[in-house]
């Protein structure tokens, strides 16, 4: 079953074409890797898929519905959720408070209704707290749950970023460079975590990553971008052997 379909997606910033007529399809339960050198348009592609930018041309279809013109929070409510390249957290909150606030979509009570403490509100609140603790347990963050997010080590901050996304109950999770800046141990932990998210929770995953070993180890299918254009796609071992991909990463020998 197709979860996400990107058709002819294009984004121009003035004269610069950041993403150029990109098509791809994400099937349910797969881990899809997106690779490409710096400035290839990977992050812009994410911003288009999650609704931070509106495309110049093209369509984003999520679970059979055209979401091209929906705002970010509406897409998140449908289960299309991302994490960020830089550690993007609520830095002045504790780890637990971060995950609690990320249960916004999970709660039925919204707005002023949250000011009146009805029995159903208390019940919901207890449920949210229980779930938040479960998510922290799952990600190995229980021991630091009362620390401020800004004081965490890098690996824990990245895990917390994923915890926030998990709290929204995503069906498709877009990870933006989840292991960048990590040492080998942290990278291995994060990779096994990403696999578990798919295997345990059935979350479909798209991952943009610079660390080739990580992205090759994780993905079942890979798309390579260069200058905003898709230059190759397929199984990891065929994509790395692709001539265009090697050229994009290593450059072309003069006169070859």
């Amino acid at each position: 079953m197709t979860i996400l379909e990107v058709k002819d997606l294009t984004k121009r910033f003035g004269g610069l074409v950041a993403v150029n007529e990109v098509d791809f399809v994400v099937e349910k339960g797969m881990i899809l890797g997106i690779i490409g050198p710096n400035g290839a348009g990977k992050t812009t592609l994410y911003n288009l898929v999650t609704g931070v930018f509106r495309p110049t041309k093209g369509k984003v279809i999520f679970k059979g519905e055209n979401v091209t013109h929906l705002s970010t929070h509406r897409r998140a409510a449908k289960g299309l959720v991302r994490t960020f390249q830089t550690t993007s957290l609520f830095h002045e909150m504790t780890v637990l408070q971060n995950v609690l606030v990320a249960h916004y979509l999970f709660r039925n009570s919204k707005g002023l209704g949250q000011l009146i403490a009805t029995p159903s509100f208390h019940k919901e609140d207890a449920k949210v707290k229980k779930r938040a603790v479960e998510i922290l347990d799952y990600l190995g963050l229980s021991a630091v749950k009362n620390e401020l997010a800004k004081s965490l080590p890098h690996g824990h901050q990245r895990a917390l970023g994923i915890a926030l996304a998990l709290a929204t109950e995503p069906t498709l999770l877009l990870l933006d460079e989840p292991v960048t800046g990590m040492n080998e141990v942290e990278t291995a932990t994060m990779m096994s975590l990403i696999k578990r998210l798919r295997d345990d929770m059935g979350i479909t995953i798209v991952v943009v990553e610079h660390n080739m070993r990580a992205v090759m180890g994780l993905s079942e299918y890979i798309i390579a971008l260069n200058f905003g254009t898709k230059i190759a796609e397929g199984a990891p071992d065929t994509v790395v052997k692709n001539r265009d991909v090697i050229e994009a990463y290593l450059g072309v020998e003069q006169g070859a």
Binding site: T50, V52, S71, T72, H73, A76, A77, V81, R82, F84, S88, L89, F90, H91, E92, M93, Q97, L100, V101, A102, H103, Y104, L105, R107, S109, G111, L112, Q114, L115, D125, V128, L164, A165, A167, T168
Partner: protein
């Protein structure tokens, strides 16, 4: 620490609703200053509420003004009694904020702050030339709040020009109501959502929070309480002019909130009461007010970035020091 805080709140509450009104029962000047400080505290608290979502607003006087005009016009043109006009003024201000919030809250940060300043000034100028709302001479002879009797029992006494005590209790009630509601917001998931927006609005949107809608919501809540203050002001003064609501007022609300400590619920209240009493004590040198104000702001920003209220954390240890010296109270504080 928690017991100490509770004790402090109880002491302040008793002072505010019992000791001051009894001591100064017949001193209209002192009651008037407390009434003004309470009015301004409420507005300064709404500045803090806006700040929780990350926005500075210099336009709160516009909502106070809207509330004052709504309430005064309802009372004089439609004969609506004050006790109906008061909540109506709050609701109308909130609706006004809702309507202008849609375009205005497309902007953020400095741009939003400047726009709120402009809106307040434009409304003031518009009221000066609009005869229906009294033009430049404003509205006068506004009715005072009516007494309410149930049988022989007087629920609400007569409000008169010579006795300020009923007004004191009315604004004290409104201030306490504001504190209770805002504290509830602070501690609810709604408050957490507001803080999330302040700290990282891109991330907030990515976890499904409708950032713009929450900004408009907080704008409306703050306008509601400003509207209540405006209505109170109109029927307390019984006369006002467009120029009663100047941009300078808006700026002082922000500065009082800042001086007191915008990070604390008690901060804007401390800032408002503290500064207003300070001005009263310094009447002889009032022409230097802006200079002193500027100096105070610079000092607080440099040496006390959390505002005056951030000194609160030293209170228990100070109290304990005093406690070591004196008898039963010291013993009690030590136990806490």
């Amino acid at each position: 620490m928690k017991n100490f805080r509770l004790l402090a709140i109880i002491v302040l509450l008793v002072l505010f609703v019992l000791v001051i009104p009894i001591l100064f029962r017949n001193d209209n000047y002192i009651l008037h200053v407390f009434i003004m400080a309470s009015e301004i505290s409420i507005v300064a608290l709404t500045v803090r509420l806006m700040y929780i979502t990350g926005e500075f607003t210099f336009g709160q006087v516009a909502f106070v003004m809207f509330g004052a005009y709504s309430s005064a016009l309802l009372a004089t043109k439609a004969g609506v009694p004050f006790w109906v006009a008061l909540p109506m003024a709050g609701i109308l201000s909130a609706l006004f904020a809702l309507v202008i919030g849609f375009p205005v809250l497309r902007l953020k940060g400095t741009y939003f702050a400047i726009l709120t300043l402009i809106i307040a000034e434009v409304m003031c100028q518009a009221a000066r030339v609009w005869d229906f709302v009294g033009g430049d001479t404003g509205l006068e002879n506004l009715p005072r709040p009516d007494a309410i009797h149930i049988g022989t029992f007087t629920l609400i006494p007569e409000f008169t020009a010579i006795d300020k005590l009923p007004y004191y209790y009315l604004i004290a009630f409104l201030l306490i109501l504001t504190i209770v509601v805002f504290r509830r917001i602070d501690r609810s998931p709604l408050g957490a959502t507001f803080r999330a927006i302040q700290q990282n609005d891109t991330l907030a949107a990515s976890i499904g929070i409708n950032v713009r809608w929450h900004r408009i919501l907080v704008f409306s809540i703050s306008a509601f309480f400003c509207g209540l203050v405006g209505s109170f002001y109109a029927h307390y003064m019984t006369v006002f002019y467009p120029r009663s609501f100047s941009v300078w007022d808006s700026i002082t609300y922000v500065l009082y909130a800042f001086l007191g400590g915008i990070g604390y619920l008690g901060g804007p209240i401390l800032g408002s009461f503290g500064m207003i009493w300070l001005w009263e004590f310094m009447h002889p040198i009032q022409k230097f007010q802006p200079m002193i104000f500027a100096g105070a702001i610079v000092m607080v920003i440099l040496f006390l970035p959390g505002g005056l209220f951030s000194l609160e954390k030293f209170l228990p240890s100070v109290a304990a020091q005093i406690g070591k010296m004196s008898g039963p109270l010291g013993k009690k504080l030590r136990r806490n």
